[in-house]
Amino acid sequence: MIFITILILIVAKALPVLNTNISSVHFFRIISIVFIVTGFLSFNTLYLETIGTGIGIYSGLFHVTQISQFIETFFYLIVGLLLIGWPQIITKVNKVKYYLTDKYSTDYSLIILFSSLGSSLLISSYDLISLYLSIELQSFGLYVLSTLYRNSESSTKSGLKYFLLGGLSSAIILLGSGIVYSYTGTTSFESIYLLNSINDLSFPLSSLGGTEYFLQGLTLGLLLIFIGFLFKIAAAPLHNWSPDVYDGTPTIVTMYLTILPKIAIFMFLLEITTHFGISHGPLNIGSFEIYTSFLVESSIYKLLLITSISSLIIGSVLGLSQVKIKRLLAYSTISHIGFILLALLINTEQSIDSFLFYILQYTITNLNLFLIILALTYTHKMNNLNYISDLKNLFFSNPLLSLCLCVCLFSMAGIPPLIGFFSKQFVLYAAIQNGFYLTAILAIIVSVISASYYLKIVKLLISENETFTKIESITENENENEANSSDLTSSSLSANKDSYGVLSLIIELTNVHSFIISTLTLILLLFFIKPSLILNSTQLLSLSLFYT
């Protein structure tokens, strides 16, 4: 499966290098089609329904389970959708349309190919070496991506910062995996799980005499690996780089940076934590020997708890004082990461269910939000939509688009009929059911706080009290899809009628772009009508993780 992916990607990669004359629009479309086809392939090549635990491929270096397969399919689809978001600049000379795009666009899509290849490998990696290689492949792509606009100062500066801190964190990951290797003598995860479970029963290693050192070393190494990964996803005590980097990079790069690498890293963390059975393993058997062998689980559990709580708090409290929109989104990302980590550390069937569902919801919402911001940026001929106050009064100039933006923000804040509410509810439900009362209360308070800054944007957007208009839009039907998108394009066209010069530059949204925005918004809106599709699939996946 992955090999087919690699082949397709390499072929697609070899295309632009050989002939750069190919139109970049076509290039984009080719690559996004490639991604969608790859998603289909990864869904379809291996029939895993009968094999519960998944199979290892490439001599055990990678391991495909149902969850990783599902997430990979989802991942490719999202990347394919994301690539379409690149705007087209249509030059009208004597009423003949010429499609131009940005000159960086081919490079952008090319590097996205590399980086998403790395993250899809990371999702299913099952060995310390393959883990390190795929995380490096992914993050090299990201460094280059954030430096891609090499003529803008902020972009290179943030790229440099991202490179330095990312290099530090991958060195920490490497140190952790080196320590794990030096104490277990193996790099395969399966052997490490096996050793750990043998220690749980306190069976043979203690007779050999190395148990405590082994456990301490394993714990330290895993902690270092976790710290490195938490650094990479910008969880809270290690979050300082993320607002700067997200602010400095152009929006279309930020869209990639906030969404896709995080999915991959979260899936990997899920893999490790469920296999080590953090905090709800087969404990309480009664023998006191077991006490020592929970060193790994309990320490990772504490680490995750600390980062989750602090990223909840920091993400929402510091987000209150932001004036730039991308910094604000970075902080809201941090608070979402807090929720996801909370779901991860509870580690029961239900919480894993909510974990997967939260990731899906977060991805869809964030993608939609960034696509809308891009659309707003390009329709209004602003070079960059930097400050929140730029959004002022937007509702009257472009009502549909800002309506979509409102829906997105409400969903992120967790207003009931939208999808974001359900995901937060599931996480909190799992937390309360497992006795995390204090954390759950804290998360509720924090989500109220963070709702206030989403609502601040909405208030700015409308700026005269018309808050009730979007409530009616909840009852929109599926039929309005096409109408919605066509309305969008027409409105964006009408917004751009004031062209300048003889060679009139009109930046237009593509039809596909607006179609995606409207579809995603409708998904967010209409989720509560038929929730069983996504919910059942995530529930089945989490069950497949636990009962195999």
Binding site: Y132, E136, K161, F163, T187
Partner: protein, 88 residues
Amino acid sequence: MNLSIILFLIGILGFILNRKNIILMIISIEIMLLAVTLLILQISYNFDDNIGQIFSIYIISIAGAESVIGLSILVAYYRLRGTISLRS
């Protein structure tokens, strides 16, 4: 193992103390990678396991790629700013 941990510590110190000189930061990342490689090599020698040696080969080449990318980003940064200090 102590050797490589101390070397790693030196790398982290060099990374943290040098807030201004970016070349030194990249150098200290290299030192950290070197430290981990030494650790893995020693341990793989003790275990008679050559997975560790293969791991170290990968790490060496990735370190090369990392320094290449870092230095090219640095050159792009220098071309715009005229300095290589991170904060000015």
